[in-house]
């Protein structure tokens, strides 16, 4: 169990991580999601021991490791762009951590074979890492990280530099490998699909603090803050007072925060509360995204899966499903 307590990291005048608390249960995979510069990679590097915190502590199963040098923590870290050793073969890269544990060489050979088989790289043992494709390098990096059986495995944007289709495939593979290992993992990414696909829980970070922590479903269905909603791609935000003035449904009685209308929650309804003019539409593969002008410069995005698709200039009258409107804190 990883326990991060009141952790603060500063670089000069910049506070990268601000009094952060989080607990990761043993065997749990937690994604750390957030925009670049939110402090997620710094958090990872402090837990690994590569960066010193200005305050707070990191502990494993109640035992503090904050002052323990990086090589004695027994944690694994897979770097962005992998940081494979270019002067060593695939097998030597994977064997490195095992050699640091002074494992007998016969056991090392067995373990290297086992791990390379797990990531689907049998037969590549003697290759130089420079001869491998991006996806293969990513597998070597994974093999190198899991070979010493770290008690905590951390990933720093491990798929960031790969193209989209390869990334989607590797996320599934990675998910399988993580669950088959039953390992405790922290997975840093700025890609929400990656985060949701892999994690038991998602930790959304902003500006050095946790914005929201919960299961992927919780976060996706109820982003609690305006930042969270915006980061997940929800743009239909209206102040409660303005929404009431328009006669739109507002959950609760408060005037605090913003009302978010999910774009996929709208339905055609002749007696609906939303009436607007189609300003434009974009084809999105399995749906159209329609921009609806509501007057007073308010524009709502609507996911349209029905036929016929509205044309620019059409007037639409819509209702929203009860679940699709919620209030987020400012």
């Amino acid at each position: 169990m990883l326990q991060v307590n009141d952790l603060t990291v500063r670089f000069g005048d910049v506070t990268a991580v601000d009094q952060l608390d989080v607990v990761v249960e043993t065997g749990e995979v937690v994604s750390v999601l957030g925009p670049s510069g939110c402090g997620k990679s710094t958090l990872l590097r402090v837990i690994a021991g590569l960066e010193d915190p200005a305050g707070g502590s990191v502990a494993w199963d109640g035992q503090e490791v904050t002052r323990l040098p990086v090589h004695r923590r027994g944690f694994g870290l897979m770097f962005q762009d992998y940081a494979l050793f270019p002067h060593k073969s695939v097998a030597a890269n994977v064997a490195f951590g095992l050699r640091m544990q002074s494992m007998p060489s016969a056991e090392i050979a067995t373990r290297v074979d086992e791990v390379l088989e797990k990531v689907g790289l049998e037969g590549y043992e003697e290759r130089g890492v420079g001869q491998l494709s991006g996806g293969q390098q990513q597998r070597v990096a994974l093999a190198r990280a899991i070979a010493p059986s770290p008690r905590l495995l951390m990933f720093d944007e491990p798929l960031g530099s790969l193209d989209r289709s390869l990334r989607e495939r590797l996320v599934l593979e990675l998910s399988d490998i993580l669950s088959s290992l039953g390992i405790t993992a922290l997975y840093v990414t700025h890609d929400q699909e990656e985060a949701f696909a892999l994690a038991d829980r998602v930790m959304l970070m902003n500006d050095g603090h946790i914005e929201q922590l919960g299961t992927p479903e919780e976060i996706w269905s109820r982003p609690r803050t305006e930042f969270a909603a915006r980061f997940l791609g929800f743009n239909n935000m209206v102040e409660p007072r303005a929404a009431r003035a328009q006669g739109w449904p507002v959950p609760g009685e408060d005037d605090e925060g913003v009302v978010v209308y999910r774009p996929d929650g709208f339905v055609l309804d002749d007696s609906g509360e939303f009436e607007g003019e189609v300003l434009g539409r974009t084809y999105r593969g399995d749906h159209f995204l329609v921009k609806l002008g509501m007057g007073d410069d308010v524009v709502l995005e609507v996911v349209v899966r029905w036929q016929p698709v509205p044309e620019v200039g059409d007037l639409l009258r819509l209702a929203i499903e009860p679940d699709a409107a919620f209030v987020a804190r400012a």
């Binding site: 090589h71 770097f79 270019p86 490195f96 420079g130 010493p148």
Partner: protein, 537 residues
């Protein structure tokens, strides 16, 4: 036609003033009595004294290399990895010894650790002072070569090793050191080569007890008039240089590891721990003691007479009071500046033309041409001077007594530097700039004028500065061909050192300080014209 000039002029120059003289040495050494014979070579190998000279040359070069690496690698680490105030200035300052004339280095260490030296121990004639001077001279070679690579080495390599359980030292030995090995090998080869062919430093600090092949060639020629033995020694020395360069280039070819080099901004960091600050402070102290203290002592002593601080030594240079030089010292300064201008013009003409061929060319021939023109860099200055002496004595090439021979020799030594400075700058012109200009409507001639010319012109200025600085300090080749009544600054300094009396030594120090100031000024001007890191030096 243009191509004939571009290739022809450098080719003719290098053939007449390098290949022919060096060929003459080899011919002379292998045909001692007009017929092919290995007798002269055999003689030097069986002569106990000469054999010990060869052995000393070899081992002092090896030890100098090890000592230099030992003191300079930590410096390379500190300068390449940490950001601290004054680092840019420091980086420029540690390069000063590298561009100093060897005569200045020699006299600086004499004032430091010679008879009546500042540290109170007379090390003249011992190997210690030689090692010290070589470390002083070559410190920047290691810092620039190894530090240059280190500052781009992905810091996550070492971090990855640390996360996988390697301690600080283990991570360095297993990951960083192997990745730096090509740069360390390159630096070591250069230091070894410089120490192997060291002349001025040894002549002033080591002779007569501790001498290298270079000094022995000079002694056999100038003092014993034994040209056959000198030629045989020169062949031995050329073989040594050839072996070093072959090993070096083999090693360079074999390294095939593709490094993921990072921008400097991702590598360097602010020293955060007190341990890091201590390491930086220790290295600064070492640099101060090794690199700046000897020069400070030299400057201070040049202003110190028996009656306290004063300009006596400098005044004597101008007033040409009774010195044992055949000409007044001011004449030597004038000669040196005059030769420097001519040498720069020669090096710029020959080297500039060649740089255009090398810089714009992509073919195998241009690389071959490049290698040919680099040869004088690997060959010692003494070999060049000695070669001039024994070959340029017939017909229209009877130049031995002409002053022009001196700037020609200096120019020859400077040509590789001019090419190494200019060709990369020319090569660095982004072709998209030319394409952009063309799309905007510039004709090919206009593109040449607007895009290429400004950059090439700047490169020429830098090359000329380098050549002038080299000429000002050149000593090895000059000693062979200089006429007693037209001495250069380094030659005049050396002669003064050899004369007894406090005044003579004082004037030598004063002249060395002047030479240092002039060379330093030229190099500062060069640095101002250089764009960033472009160029190999």
């Amino acid at each position: 036609m243009a191509r004939v000039v571009l290739v022809g002029v450098p080719l003719a120059f290098i053939s007449i003033f390098f290949l022919y003289p060096v060929g003459s040495i080899i011919w002379r050494g292998l045909t001692p009595d007009g017929m092919f014979s290995l007798a002269a070579m055999g003689d030097i190998l069986t002569d106990g004294d000469l054999r010990s000279v060869a052995w000393f040359t070899l081992w002092q070069a090896a030890v100098s290399t090890v000592v230099t690496l030992a003191v300079a690698l930590p410096g390379a680490y500190v300068i390449s990895q940490y950001k601290f105030r004054g680092r840019a200035l420091l980086r420029a300052a540690i390069t000063v010894p590298l561009i100093l004339p060897t005569v200045v280095v020699g006299i600086a260490f004499l004032t430091l650790a010679g008879p009546q030296g500042a540290i109170g121990v007379d090390l003249k004639g011992s190997v210690w002072i030689i090692l010290l001077a070589h470390a002083f001279y070559n410190y920047a070679v290691v810092v620039r070569t190894v530090g240059g690579m280190w500052s781009h080495l992905d810091p996550r390599m070492e971090q990855a090793a640390r996360v996988l359980g390697a301690g600080r030292i283990r991570a360095f030995v297993e990951v960083t050191l192997p990745l730096l090995r090509p740069a360390i090998a390159a630096a070591a080869s250069i230091v070894f080569l410089f120490s192997f062919t060291s002349f001025g430093v040894i002549l002033i600090l080591g002779a007569p007890r501790r001498v290298t092949l270079e000094v022995e060639i000079f002694r056999q020629t100038a003092q014993l008039l034994n040209l056959e033995t000198a030629a045989a020694l020169a062949i031995l020395q050329l073989l040594g240089v050839f072996v070093i360069l072959t090993i070096y280039s083999r090693y360079q070819e074999r390294r095939s590891v593709e490094l993921n080099l990072r921008p400097v901004s991702e590598v360097e960091r602010v020293p955060a721990t007190s341990k890091a600050k201590l390491v930086i402070a220790a290295n600064l102290a070492l640099m101060g003691a090794l690199l700046f203290f000897p020069l400070a002592v030299l400057v201070k002593r040049s202003f110190t007479t028996s009656t306290g601080l004063g300009l006596t030594y400098y005044r004597n240079l101008v007033e040409s009071s009774p010195t044992s030089l055949p000409v007044p010292p001011t004449e030597a300064i004038r000669n040196s500046l005059f030769f420097a201008v001519i040498a720069a013009a020669i090096a710029l003409t020959v080297g500039g033309l060649a740089a255009i061929v090398v810089g714009y060319g992509k073919s195998r021939y241009s690389r071959w041409f490049d290698s040919l023109l680099m040869l004088p860099l690997g060959t010692s200055a003494v070999t060049v001077g000695f070669g001039f002496l024994i070959s340029l004595d017939k017909g229209i090439l009877d130049l031995r007594t002409k002053w022009i021979l001196i700037p020609i020799a200096h120019g020859l030594v400077a040509i590789p530097f001019v090419i190494r400075v200019m060709a990369p700058m020319i090569r660095s012109i982004d072709n998209r700039l030319r394409e952009a200009a063309a799309v905007l409507g510039a004709s090919p001639a206009r593109i040449g004028r607007e895009i290429d010319l400004p950059i090439v012109a700047k490169a020429m200025l830098v090359g000329a500065g380098f050549a002038a600085a080299i000429s000002l300090g050149e000593f090895g080749a000059t000693t062979f061909i200089v006429r007693p009544d037209v001495p250069t600054l380094p030659v005049a300094i050396f002669r003064l050192i050899g004369r007894p009396g406090e005044l003579n030594f004082g004037m030598a120090m004063a002249m060395a300080v002047i030479l240092m100031a002039v060379t330093g000024t030229v190099m500062m001007l060069v640095e101002r014209f250089r764009a960033g890191d472009v160029g190999d030096f």
